[in-house]
């Protein structure tokens, strides 16, 4: 049986964090942290390490077990089921929110006159078809998509360097440390989305476990550096006010880039748009994959082909009813999402680790007490 390798898992981390962050992070962080926003990823990355630490602890305590099995073992059959069902709802609606952001982007910049329902249907169909493949296939394709996004965006950002104004970064930390912390809250929720690794964990090569830890740590640090460069380029070229006002400042940079003096190549932004759309689709796929994996384990099926269509196409229907306008998602992500997202992405794994520890201590204490009596 084919299993997911450490490299593919590390690229899942990159795509999950960087796909939405490259486009939405600069505006959100700059609104709060102003010219100190380029440091926001540094303050947010500890949440990535914390989340990884939690799922690492769960893996150590419950080797080879799926998230559903761990939850049922730790919380018992009733509370465990409630927790995993809540997690399914969370993962599904997180996928729906990203889908809405993606739809809004495509509708605004590419397919202006195409009915949004058509775009919604095509995207959902592609996601559903992708979910029919094994996670090893998804991981490999995602690796290509992630690398393409990183490489092309890096080229664009390097080309934007001559247009960077150093005056945009003075005075040092314009909005102070408080602003910097506020600007790091939303990216912290993106970093903690690496919780998705927990759903592919038991499908990984067991001999690459040690390698995986190293790769994940490097990928988290590389992603942080990458996001810092994105923020520096956005701040330096557009300035604080214009970056905060613009909905998609990274796209503005991609459009502004000029490859050499006098080279009039237009629409270079397509080098960013295509890999970004693919990366966002893969992010949705991994969220839906998590939801389907829980249902599969809960219903004790071997595959999730039977209900993946339900997960995907219910999302397709709900997305336009709950979020009729894309601007609602921006507000939701800036103000409501951090608490809500962190509860499921960090809070539940933390609860699992603590409960698992207490349970094992209690068990050993009881066995010790029983033995001595």
């Amino acid at each position: 049986m084919q299993q997911l390798d450490a490299r593919s898992a590390a690229w899942i981390v990159f795509v999950v964090i960087a796909s939405t962050a490259t486009l939405y992070l600069p505006a959100i962080s700059i609104q709060q942290a102003q010219n100190g926003a380029w440091l926001s990823p540094v303050l947010a990355v500890p949440f990535g390490f914390l989340t990884y630490g939690l799922i690492w602890a769960l893996r150590r305590r419950h080797p080879g077990q799926s998230f559903t099995a761990i939850a049922l073992a730790v919380f018992g059959p009733v509370i465990g089921r409630v927790i995993v069902i809540l997690m399914v709802v969370f993962l599904w609606q997180a996928g729906v929110i990203i889908l809405r952001q993606l739809l809004g982007f495509i509708k605004t910049f590419i397919l202006l006159e195409t009915p949004i329902l058509v775009v919604d249907f095509i995207l959902s169909l592609a996601i559903w078809l992708a979910l029919r493949y094994r996670v090893t296939v998804l991981g490999k394709v995602n690796q290509m998509v992630g690398f393409t996004l990183a490489a092309l965006l890096a080229v664009l950002l390097i080309s934007a360097m001559p247009d960077i104004h150093m005056s945009a970064f003075t005075p040092w930390l314009e909005s102070g440390w408080k602003g910097l912390v506020r600007g790091a809250i939303v990216p912290a929720t993106w970093y903690s989305q690496i919780v998705l690794l927990i759903f592919v964990w038991h499908e990984m090569k067991p001999d690459e476990t040690a390698l995986l830890d190293r790769r994940i740590i490097w990928m988290l640090l590389s992603t942080t550096l990458f996001l810092m460069i994105v923020n520096i380029a956005v701040l330096g070229v557009l300035g604080v006010q214009e970056s905060a006002r613009s909905g998609f400042p990274t796209l503005e940079i991609a459009r502004y880039v000029q490859l050499g003096a006098g080279v009039q190549l237009q629409r270079l932004d397509i080098l960013f748009i295509i890999p970004w759309i693919l990366a966002a689709i893969f992010k949705i796929i991994f969220f839906y994959y998590g939801a389907c994996a829980i249902i599969r384990d809960l219903l004790q099926h071997t595959t999730f082909d039977a209900f993946s269509s339900g997960v995907v196409f219910s999302g397709m229907g709900v997305v336009l009813v709950v979020f009729p306008k894309a601007s609602i998602t921006s507000y939701f992500i800036s103000y409501d999402w951090p608490v809500y997202g962190l509860f499921f992405q960090v809070g539940i794994p933390l609860l699992l680790v603590i409960s698992s520890l207490i349970r094992s201590r209690l068990k050993s204490w009881l066995s010790h007490a029983g033995g001595s009596s």
């Binding site: 397919l111 592609a126 003075t170 300035g239 502004y256 295509i274």
Partner: protein, 388 residues
Amino acid sequence: MLASLILCCFALSGCWDYKELEQQALLTGLGYDVGGKGDFLVIAYLDEQQSSAGDKAPQAQKAQTQVVVVKSKHALESYHLLSLQIPQFKYVSHLYTMVFSEAFAKSSSFSEIVDRITRVGAVRRRTSLLVTPDHVKDVYSQRLPGADSTARGLPDLVLQGNLLQLVPRIDLNEFVYQSTLPGVDAMLPEIHVVESNGHPVLKVAGAAVFHRMKMVGCLTPEDVRTLLWLMGKSGHSFLALPGFQKNDAAFFHTGEIHTAIKTSVRGGRPFADVKVELTGTLAAYRGEHLLRKADIKQLESMASRVFRKKLIRILKKTQAMKADPVGFGVLVRAQVGSAVWRKRYVHWSEEEYPRMTVHIQVKTHISSAEATDSPISVQQTESGSPQS
């Protein structure tokens, strides 16, 4: 594989977003002016695509250029009214130039338009912005030699003017950046319609100075050159110097310019120390005697004095204009921090910059002194013909 093929659909225009060539109008230039009765005029410079469908000749596919003028009471509305006159779908992603009349640039509608166009995602941020003291329609109706259209040729004209340090080079993004950064005021190049050999021609020279996205004054090409030097921007320009005697003249060709500006705040009052190091060559000299090393030293101090005078003049001019295009305020803000800035210096250009004291030091170095030790001597022969 199937999923990848479906995703490829996004690279296509689809059934709804497909536009035939003849349905497209490329907006390459846009102008705003104020009409006789205070109406706003929007002038669109369009490259209308013509399809070769049905024609066998390859040259049948060509772009036709036309100028469309729309009048309205409100500047924002006037752009939308364009749609009523142009049946094709307007693409703004090829907008090369935007020209504003001085009357329009001085109105509050200017900032509304800049705000609006930067919100339209497809607009190029590399678009060149220009201001004209003439009518915008007159600018767009002139032909530029060698350029396939005036709107496309204007950015190159600005580039040439910038190389000669006659105009600042600034695009839409740069203008918005400078306008939104506290402590600096933006400039835009000026374009004029002038008479040459009895024909009107376009000429870029000078700059319009803005404060809070409203034009507050004009700078001559000489002022622009001095400002660019002050900002440490080198270029190919000459500085005319008086010689040692009445009929003498020297031309100093500027090479590298290094400017160091240091600001300080003492007793709440801003001060600035400007040190300029100018390196160049003596491009031409007309005088009674040959130049020696001592003369070169004298010319260097002469150039420093002339240049210092020019700097003082431009600083006084911008202080009177209540606009800080150099960006002394940016340095002060970096020094005092944003909290003090917001409290005390928020009206920098209007209140603080005009009373700022600037100390200027200029050091000039003429690098081709060796060449002038043995200059070309022209002697009169007996027959009277010149011989070198």
